[in-house]
């Protein structure tokens, strides 16, 4: 389909542009190739910076993110509060810093579950084929028949609003992409000599899947996960923004945007900063994912 050609053009074009530079050695290490892609390095830098902030949040944040200060309500940015305070007098910078923990953390956690489920199902369906594959792929078809937000929204709606339920909803819907991609890769891997020879010497299926197939699909998984982390983060904080995910006073970025709505005309910065933070991190993940794909797995879709 179209995706194939998009990818081909994009790759050829990047490679082509580079070859035009001339005297570059044709083959370099993976790292070398990655670090020559300036936009990918920028992405890595953004992601690493936010991840560091998230990990070191209690050390970096000037104040407690939930500390209420009645004397400084909606204070403007200044020496005391670098990014000002919100409607309850809470320090916006501290909330943003701790928010990195919540927003990045939930996205990582959800992504880990999604990858585990999606990869396991993709490997099983792709390796065994037959009835198992048919059944699993019909499930995938049905889940793909919904716009992803609709089903996640409905799951959260049924379970009740909470960050945990938002993550559950995301996991229930998003593993499908991985399952499809990994299934395809596994099926093509099955035809390769090293898999058939392992099969011929009598290696049991679990051994072949874990030792021979899995290591070969991991690069694609890394690329796909990086590319989708940004979208996942947008979706989770979107649901939090609607009031379905993290509940106040949690300093999750989407929730902060939601909290800032009422005061948005008086203090637009309450909405500007968290939105900017989300945009930057998602941009970082997208750039990093594009770069990783070009290096690790130029054949992956999207």
């Amino acid at each position: 389909m179209g995706e194939l050609s998009v990818r081909r053009v994009r790759f050829a074009q990047r490679g082509g542009d580079r070859r035009a530079w001339g005297a570059r050695p044709p083959r370099r290490g993976l790292l070398g190739r990655f670090f020559r892609d300036r936009t990918a390095v920028a992405g890595l830098f953004i992601v690493a910076a936010f991840a560091l902030v998230a990990i070191a949040a209690p050390l970096v944040a000037p104040r407690d993110p939930t500390e209420v200060d009645a004397t400084a309500i909606l204070a403007s940015p200044g020496a005391e509060h670098w990014l000002g305070t919100d409607n309850l007098g809470r320090d916006v910078l501290s909330r943003l810093i701790h928010g990195a923990r919540w927003t990045l953390g939930t996205a990582f956690l959800a992504a880990a579950a999604i990858v585990a489920i999606g990869v396991a199902i993709g490997l099983v369906a792709g390796y065994f084929g037959g009835l198992i594959d048919d059944v699993l792929m019909r499930v995938v078809d049905v889940l793909l028949a919904f716009p992803s937000l609709v089903l996640a929204l409905a799951i959260v709606g049924m379970l009740g609003p909470s960050l945990r339920n938002v993550m559950l909803g995301m996991v229930a819907v998003w593993w499908v992409d991985y399952a499809r991609v990994i299934r395809g890769l596994t099926m093509s891997m099955r035809q390769r000599e090293f898999v058939t020879s392992a099969h011929c010497v009598g290696a049991p299926a679990p051994h072949i899947i874990l030792r021979h197939v899995l290591p070969n699909v991991i690069p694609s998984v890394i690329v796909l996960a990086t590319l989708e982390l940004g979208a996942l983060m947008l979706a989770i904080s979107g649901l939090s923004f609607l009031g379905l995910g993290a509940q106040p006073p949690t300093p999750e970025w989407g929730t902060m945007l939601n909290d800032g709505r009422l005061f948005f005309q008086r203090a637009p910065r309450l909405m500007l900063y968290p939105g900017l933070a989300i945009t930057l991190v998602v941009l970082g993940f997208n750039l990093l994912g594009d770069g990783l794909r070009d290096v690790l797995d130029p054949h992956l879709r999207r």
Partner: protein
Amino acid sequence: MTRYLLRRLCYLVPVWLGISFVAFGLANLTPGDPARLMLQRDLGRQPTAEEVRQTRDELRLDAPFAVRYARWLGGAVTGDLGTSYRTGEPVARALLERFPRTLQIAALGLAGAILVALPLGMMAAVWRNSPVDHLSRVVALFSAAMPSYWVAYLLILAFAVRLQVLPVAGQGTWRHLVLPSLTLGLASTATLMRLTRSEMLNVLGQDFIRTGRAKGLSPRAVNLRHALRNALIPVTTVVGLRFAGLLGGAVIVETIFAWPGIGKYVLDSIFDRDYPVIQGFVVFMGSVFLLINLIVDVSYGLLDPRIRLAR
């Protein structure tokens, strides 16, 4: 063409059954007893055990899963999606009543996106590595990363608060349509623009383009009649997918702009734990998505005879 259409239609049946199964199964995720919840809402007090038992009987909640599913499916097929706990209104009617409003902003947003994305994507491809191309790449990167709910507020800030040319929220005049549609359309603009560009580049590299140029066709004829038409085939698919995505993603935009569409309705229902509405929403949106996919498939067949005749 008829055979192609029939084959597509047959394929829809099992998928639709799957959708209905998911929608019905979702209701079993709800914490607590639906009968008790309903009574609490209606009576405004804790119901007695006897009342709960009676309501469970009336709703036939104690029947086996398969029986309840079959009964519910029978209703869904005939357009009966149950009644809202909150208003007692039939869910199907409530959804149908609000759907056109969601359709309105989604269609407008997408139309805007196409109008901007196709020419820009084409220019970016024809003048590759020109300033237009670089600019379109940067714009696409950022608009893919910006949360729509944030963009919505930036737009409100600019057009409704500072410039005061458009209303903040609500409905009534065409002015009320602008910001919600714009917010919805922006993200699709970037995707469609990049896709048009890469598809154009792909087509421009093919032999028949070289032939066209060699026989002396004007660049305009080559680009528009031969390249763009072929590039549009994959773009059509994505337009269809984006449209379905816009309908599903309208929840956020409708909430921000107080637009009384289907998304806002379902969000209100979620907070009111109005489960039949959520269930109905899932079936409804799933069916709409299937329909859109069917239309895309058919138009695909019309645009590209190779697909229709395959197999």
